[in-house]
Symmetry: C2
Subunit: 293 residues, 2 copies
């Protein structure tokens, strides 16, 4: 790939043709807001059911709400290429007694935050959202292009992952590893791995024959706890390098921690795209998907 | 790896030191049976809650039962290295009104079948189980070591996957791709990949830069339908080879189809271990995990 690119030089950012850095920087507070949103008050009546498709899937996993509700509000988050699954379920949902609320955003790899924000506001959980937002704004201070490599954990991690295949493990945060895999594909244009639910057995057995094969792996351990420690112990002798991302703030809610880690990985994927010299945006690629569907 | 091993020669099977081939062959009907099992009658009262940990996780995903029940029977499937999660939840479950039924089997990569069998019998779903069993016995006829390569789809697929990294995609069967990833690690001692929930976007974007990197990928598409066809179209130009495994019998239940595909992949992982010249058993590896936990 020729000469190593410099993340502290402006010319490196020329490949970012659609300005994803700006979208990343301005993420907090973006996206639709439910009508009649008032401080501390649910704008839509509970109980809630949440069907989350396409780019919204992670929000469903994170919030752990039941998918369907008989009364109250039935959310249907669409957005993305689900081959009509959301539409079909929307027709079913329309026959119920609950009020059906559909949300669909134009494609962006950063939409999970926006769908989450909408749902939290609609449920009157402004406090939970402000915890998320505060942590993201804290993270932003040290992740942007203006922060030089030696003080920027996202730039640093991108260099660690360059020419390696990341293996994400996040036992404490539902779906975060898969969400990271999505970010690295869509923004970083990079292949990465996630383990199956029996992750420790997978780490012990699946990497045994690895030395005979190709790419060096880089384990990325998200969060902390007994499972993360054990994974580290197992993986240290089996992968090329282990990167640890502890929760950015111990006292914060698990939801805010998950989003903050996700946000740091989004920036990391962004810098990785720049290091590979490819556009971190994916409009053109996704319009190809539209053509075939 | 030296001279190519011959799956139709007895000497190739010497690495199978614990006789996993026999366990694979005799899988149908193995495992514990609930007390008082009678034809067509639930031996344990409903409604049912199912907490499925470790090697049982896939059964939870396949059956889609709710995790907890207030009355009836609360199943707790343990087995595997969950760092006490099952035990802790067991203590919680004991405080409820439902009868708590714990099942824990000695470690084996083939346990998902056995946990599933137990639950189906306990719920009086002997008919669903016999559909599964019939399909597995049909599969077995053409998957064993005595069936030569040219008539044996598992041997054939193992050769296709040799020196490649499998990428499993199974949109119609919950958790099957991750279950396959587990089988290939534990039996085949091989690394493999699964896509995140937004699989089509992942296929389009995550494999773009792939040509700069290492191992050739082999996509393994499980089942059929619009998503599988689209994935094939996208992947054909992006991976080294695409293997298609349609459901073994169109009229069978999705559950039986999922188990039959899983069984074929278990045999495939077995042959892959032999081709790599490694023991398809994993007792020794897992005892190392016991040491660290």
């Amino acid at each position: 790939m020729g000469r190593m690119r410099d993340l502290d030089k402006e010319e490196t950012y020329l490949v970012d043709r659609k300005g994803l850095a700006v979208e990343l920087r301005d993420l907090v507070g973006s996206g639709p807001t439910p009508a009649d949103t008032q401080e501390g008050k649910a704008s839509l009546p509970g109980p809630y059911g949440l069907l989350a498709y396409g780019e919204a899937w992670w929000v469903g996993r994170l919030l752990g709400l039941s998918e369907w509700t008989e009364e109250g509000t039935q959310f249907l988050l669409e957005g993305g290429y689900d081959l009509g699954a959301a539409q079909a379920l929307g027709l079913v949902a329309e026959t119920g007694k609950a009020r059906l609320v559909r949300v669909e955003l134009p494609p962006s790899p950063l939409n999970p935050y926006r769908y989450l924000r909408y749902i939290l506001l609609a449920m009157g959980k402004a406090e939970a959202l402000s915890q998320v937002d505060r942590l993201l704004l804290e993270e932003r201070k040290r992740l942007g292009p203006e922060v030089p490599l030696e003080e920027n954990p996202a730039k640093f991690l991108a260099f660690t992952l360059l020419e390696r295949t990341p293996l994400f493990y996040a036992p404490g945060y539902p779906g975060l590893a898969e969400a990271a895999q999505g970010l690295f594909a869509r923004i970083g244009k990079s292949l990465s791995l996630t383990p199956p639910p029996t992750a420790l057995e997978f780490f012990l057995t699946g990497l045994e024959a690895r030395h005979e094969q190709g790419d060096p792996l880089a384990a990325v351990l998200l969060g902390r706890g007994a499972e993360v420690s054990l994974a580290k112990e197992i993986l240290e002798s089996r992968v090329d390098t282990v990167a640890e991302l502890p929760p950015p703030e111990d006292g914060a809610s698990p939801l805010a921690q998950a989003l903050a880690l996700w946000y740091r990985l989004a920036w990391t994927a962004y810098y990785l795209a720049l290091l590979y010299g490819v556009d971190p945006g994916d409009q053109e690629v996704l319009s190809r998907l539209r053509e075939v569907t």
